[in-house]
Symmetry: C2
Subunit: 526 residues, 2 copies
Amino acid sequence: MPSQSAITLGSATTLDPAAALLQPRVDAGVPERLARSAAATDGGVMRTDAFAAWFARRREAHPFRVERIPFDRLEGWSFDGRTGDLVHRSGRFFTVEGLHVSVDEGRRGAWHQPIIKQPEVGILGILVKEFDGVLHLLMQAKMEPGNVNLLQLSPTVQATRSNYTKVHRGVDVKYLDHFTRPGRGRVLVDVLQSEHGAWFLHKSNRNMIVEASGEVAVAEDFCWLTLGQIGRLLHLDNVVNMDARTVLACAPVAAALVDGPAATPAARPAPGPAVTAPSTAPVPPADGRSTRTTRYTQALRRSAEPAAGALHSDAELLSWFASERSRHDLVVRRMPLRELPGWHRREDVVEHADGLGFRVVAVAVAAASREVARWTQPLIEPNGTGVMAFVTRQIGGVAHVLVHARVEGGFLDTVELAPTVQHVPGEFVATEDPGGRPPFLDLVLAAPPDRVRYEAVHSEEGGRFLAAQSRYLLVEADEHDAPVQEPPGYRWVTPGQLSWLVRHGHYLNVQARTLLACLNALVGGQ
Amino acid sequence: MPSQSAITLGSATTLDPAAALLQPRVDAGVPERLARSAAATDGGVMRTDAFAAWFARRREAHPFRVERIPFDRLEGWSFDGRTGDLVHRSGRFFTVEGLHVSVDEGRRGAWHQPIIKQPEVGILGILVKEFDGVLHLLMQAKMEPGNVNLLQLSPTVQATRSNYTKVHRGVDVKYLDHFTRPGRGRVLVDVLQSEHGAWFLHKSNRNMIVEASGEVAVAEDFCWLTLGQIGRLLHLDNVVNMDARTVLACAPVAAALVDGPAATPAARPAPGPAVTAPSTAPVPPADGRSTRTTRYTQALRRSAEPAAGALHSDAELLSWFASERSRHDLVVRRMPLRELPGWHRREDVVEHADGLGFRVVAVAVAAASREVARWTQPLIEPNGTGVMAFVTRQIGGVAHVLVHARVEGGFLDTVELAPTVQHVPGEFVATEDPGGRPPFLDLVLAAPPDRVRYEAVHSEEGGRFLAAQSRYLLVEADEHDAPVQEPPGYRWVTPGQLSWLVRHGHYLNVQARTLLACLNALVGGQ
């Protein structure tokens, strides 16, 4: 079967000088290098035990204050006289408008809600570079007004198009050139992924990982960390921000093993230092952790092996996804904010009489480290802490998680794959059983500690959402709690299959991507 | 590196009875079986030389008449009193509405046009089954009012949701159960793909290939053909309809070689008769055809090999696609048909004063073989024959085609990959140079016969478009005509890369998918 590079095939080919232009379609070395970085739980540039002090210094360096204000103290923002939409006078940034959402012709639910419209595509980019043979990621200590603790660890670049077209006349976005100018460095990941479908209308961002060529000067709020170091930080509450998590989820830790012409000699880079792929990495000593946890890590690693198998083949998974997308009718209609039934505008809030998940508020922000020193803006504030959980099982020794084909009003295409449980108190959801409890919520909330494989509280996008926290969990279940035979709208898939899908946009929603980043952290780290 | 099935890995695994539930993620046997079918240019069920007579008999069996009528003779259809939209009284099927399209804030073009809105997802499905070890496809001789010759070769099933929910009270759609009931047979392909973005708003259909389990009774208008037989028919004008072509494009002829855990022993089916994959099939004797053509076929086959390489790696290709999607602002706004500036409704046509690509007309159809015996409907009629062409080159002995990242108003997400040339006379297009000739159009139109690797006239969707024909071409170029360094918005990709992308929706537009089906036909056939 095919095994040689085209460059050496046939006389007509070898005579063609253009053969030198060809390159391997897939660089099988990338997942191996990512795995090596994931296994490095300490860094070659900044030691892990020095991180906390550095991060605290960054926090101190940027005194930062956020306060709720009434809408009439917004600067540049106002409610449009005709529509009541909340708009910026430049016509840019974003607007808060009204939306009518109807799922399956009213049989499964219809509701009205405000929604953020921000049609431009932003860039979330992480710059990577090898130090001592290990990939490090350039992370930023960045403040965002919606984060409960303000400062969190962010991608190298977090730029809206307004940022780089200078609509708000701020300073340059550092390192942006690495992501916008082709030819600077080497792109490892670049994919448009959706944002929160409950709060954003059709919003997507480019999730990028670019390997820098040449020297990179490290600016004040930036530091180089390995994937393994970030994996450890992912176990802490409210440290790694949402934008970093979604980019990390897209790292092809297992994807190239599964998604490409695996491991042909021609596609490998020149041999470097000994490489340990996650699938063959020795299982670390249990070291105080239970055998159960160790076995779960093994099952996770196994899911990255191409030959590991899965409950459903890739073709079956794609088919189920297509059928879920086509069996739902999602009709969304934009409408003026002022005409939203049940929603009322007060002095400092736009809210629904019954709560209904979230409200629209305004804040004033004063900070030294942002592109502009002071600004005001609207934010979406949810009514409570969310619960985002994958129920997970080992099936035949291979880790599986139970994904849910979820309809959200702001999705570009009806359905994306969501966590087993995605629950924000009071939020409208199109469910099979509108009156009932969300499936698996009680299982997750009542899980005994020895079933919880991962748990941390993370913030959602702090640039648009105020104190929007969610408890992210991986909860191991058994046949009794979560049978192999799934209920309608759910499927058992392996983390390896999720890594395969996340190379393309609009398969995994942003909450599922956070959990995929956490799964990857469990595989790689110790 | 990983090579064993998970079922045999580790003691914890072998003890798990659930291991039996696992299956290989990818069946590497599928592309080989498709290749065997593509190499079979004669059929085990219907001989190729018998096809023409059978097809002619089908045509005679269904006397069928289509005539243009004025709008007031439409039955069940009327112009809405308020909006002027053309609607059906059931509220189903589709509507013709108005659209304002603006690309890149007016700098690159803005226009008004009627558009078909049909939010439901249809099914285009081909049933396959092995006879004497060779996969055959169940194809249907189906009449559609817009086809110039009315009867064309169609997928097994072509069903709108109206079809199967019986909105028009017709007869059952034959074989539909194979595609809508999970568990009947085995799904090889199932992906949502876009329809014409110039004429449909956000329309997509499920493209499915299902392998039947058990006996399949062959109904009157149906026949079993190999991929090789259909490949030969693809060289004829107006025989293989658009719905068949788009499903054929999605057949994973090379995809699994490239897109999956290639060729692990566990993933292979039990050895059957000797299999000849396209990449290693002996090149047939030139047999009157030029050496140039033979070399081109070789280059095509090479592009299906995972190790063949490409001008751009898969990661670079995805990155370019993400950047093309995000660099364009496409703003579409639905508006009442009656308010479209420049468009006028006459007794029997809605048209623009300047032509502008197409008009809306109405027809009466009388046919015996359709679900209902007589009906009237609106159709879109383009003003001329289109030209759809891939400019193609052999780079390092590997076939490449020049794709164009094209903005169309009806696309769900701004941009899809289109042929190098996609030209319908008079049609509005967002181009880099609004005043200029479409790039590469003159190259294609002036190509000498020895540069034309493929040429045939095909109809677009005959259920919605009247006499919408396009000349589909593959035109080989050299460094002078089409340099390796592409102009903005274009990229050289291999057919193997297109087969990899087409497993997912919204990468290739419907015209590019027709050309991919033709490329596959060149690889497989003789």
